[in-house]
Amino acid sequence: MQNNKTLNYADGILQAFTYLLENHKEVFVFGQGLWSPWYVGSTMKDLDKKFGVERVIDSPVSEVAVTGAAIGASVCGYRPIVVHPRVDFMILAIDQIVSQAAKWSSMFGGQVHPAVTIRGIVNRGGEQGAQHSQALHAWFAHVPGLRVVMPATARDARDLLIASVLCDDPVLYIDDRWLYEWEEEDPGIQLLNLSEVGPHVLKNGNDITIVAASFSTKLAMDAAKTLEEEGISVEVVDLRVINPIHWDVILESVQKTGRLLAVDGGWQSCGLAGEIIAGVMEHVPLAVMKASPKRLTLTNAPAPTSKVLEEIYYTQPSQIISAVKEMIGSKVHV
């Protein structure tokens, strides 16, 4: 697989698991659905068969105990990866993630670091409804002590999963099923130090900066392509790690373009898009801004089921395109 010219997101994840289990004996995987292709698409295919059920462990329906147990194993020298097939299920274990894993280093004076990676999958659409569609990354990005990774591209899906597991801090790794088929060219595995990974410019442009993460980055790229054809030059900044955020690349880009559109697949209030706007507006001088910043986020409601409602519930590239045009077209509000 390593020599393929292109890689898709799902295969990127599978490669990362394979690499980690092959090269690091202290890595094991724990969660629901691991002995059957259940919810995780092809991202973990046959890992149990390849690496044995002792290291790829399917579990009872006990999110708290399983997550806590992984944290426990991590403070004993292991590097477990917990898999929650949906972010919605992961929140049952939130106390273990936020009050335990995120705080042990601090509470014990930096003497212990739970090197656990918790994978939560955003899995929505398909009329699954309100309890099976949540994307709550903003919650976790709120919490010091956690690193929160949201890859958009296939290479990041792989390289950031590896970096997450090899990082000594507790990491929340959130992937999105809507990205599983997204492909890109692949130069092979790159070993990264997660604490040094920050946002990067996925596409250069001059007229406006779109900041996004995960599937929203893909939406932004799709919109940017269309806009480019119409002569509007969009810079897309892909966040990659949403906590802690490294601001430099974002600030530089907005300094250059003078316009900021933040796009996020989570809800608006106290969400990631608002964080980007706040962080930028605190630091980029007002006079640089050519338009008021704007955000596009999920509809402010629980996810509906009916497909006719799903269609308008989720952000479409066309909305990004309109927003950009409005921001470019409009003068600075004066």
Partner: protein, 347 residues
């Protein structure tokens, strides 16, 4: 009182057992025929849904309970619309057994505004308080504390109402369910916990998830009255539920029914999952013989309460009900787009 810990389902988990017609001695014919008919409604409604998933008409995830019809039908017999019933992801049977209409179920599964949740829920979120069904939700174990609270409400209002909480053998692994059992017990709440133990949670057999294959252990640990029964025998379920409901209505606290059963279809969708479930491939064909419908039908025929002809008539009548309801659902409109924002808060 000394209680022996139940550490195994024994014969109840052996699909070779309990295949014979059920015992209907002394039972009322009309009641039995009605139960047979409702079980057919449930079975055929779910088969219709299976067919329409395959056809592509239904998009939403559906968890079919084909093979498990007797539990809901038996449990519902002594409930009234004032009682409060809560389900989970596999709740078509719970809804229909209480009298939920085919029209509103099919419409809901299709995301139509005439659905029982106005098209906002789909298969996993059913709701009809007029029949006493107060909601099903797919977060495993999620509705069990809520049903426990309905029991608390019933206790406070002192009208003899009971709450019913349906869940599965997987759900018992959730802390939410464990906490609820203690709460209901210590507060003596009128809650009937109905664990449909179909031996599986998704692809995993209970023996891979728990140290024993019976869940009534937890009723015991929480000092909750309980019964472990053949969940595919509608008469046994009904009689047990009667006992449970009387117990709860009388203010004696909760009751736990472990109804042992098996689902014929996969965890979600129409397939049989025989390639997926650990242990499942070998067992399914044997379990099909512990069919709640044919075991009742055969018993009725052997006791001359039913002829093959009448049985066929019943099924045909149900078929045409289903056909009509499906057509109604197809013809119904989708919700207004404004429903998304309008249902978030009360007006």
């Amino acid at each position: 009182m000394t209680t022996h810990l139940i550490e195994s389902l024994g014969n109840l988990s052996d699909p070779l057992c309990y295949q014979e017609p059920i015992n209907i001695v002394g039972e009322n014919k009309e009641i039995l025929l009605n139960e047979l008919r409702i079980m057919w409604v449930i079975r055929k409604a779910e088969e219709k849904i299976a067919e329409q998933i395959i056809s592509g008409a239904i998009k939403c995830p559906c968890h079919l309970g084909i093979g498990q019809e007797a539990a809901a039908v038996g449990v519902s017999a002594y409930l009234t619309p004032n009682d409060k019933v809560f389900g989970a992801h596999r709740s078509h049977s719970h809804f229909l057994a209480l009298g939920g209409t085919l029209d509103s179920l099919f419409a809901e599964v299709l995301g139509k505004v005439t659905g029982c949740s106005k098209g906002m829920g789909g298969s996993m979120h059913l709701f009809d308080p007029s029949i006493g069904f107060h909601g099903s939700v797919p977060i495993v174990g999620g509705s069990v504390p809520i049903a426990t609270g309905a029991g608390l409400a019933a206790k406070l209002s002192k009208k003899g109402e009971v709450a019913v909480s349906y869940f599965g053998d997987g759900a018992i692994e959730e802390g939410a369910v464990q906490e609820s059992l203690n709460l209901a017990s210590v507060m003596k709440l009128p809650v009937i916990f109905v664990c449909e133990n179909n031996l599986f949670s998704s692809h995993l057999h209970i023996e891979l998830r728990q140290p024993a294959n019976t869940t009534a252990r937890f009723a015991q640990a929480n000092l909750i009255e309980h019964a472990v029964i053949d969940g595919n025998d509608v008469v046994t379920v009904r009689k047990t539920a009667q006992r449970a409901i009387e117990h709860a209505r009388a203010g004696k606290g909760p009751f736990f029914i472990e109804a042992v059963t098996y689902r014929w279809r996969g965890h979600v969708g129409p397939s049989e999952d025989t390639d997926v479930g650990v242990k499942r491939g070998a067992e399914l064909s044997v379990w099909r013989k512990r069919d709640p419908l044919s075991r009742l039908a055969l018993a009725l025929i052997q006791s001359n309460m039913l002829t093959e002809k009448t049985h066929t008539d019943i099924q045909e009548e149900v078929d045409s009900q289903i056909k009509e309801a499906w057509q109604n659902a197809l013809n119904a409109p989708y919700p207004e787009l404004s429903a998304i924002l309008e249902t978030v808060y009360a007006k």
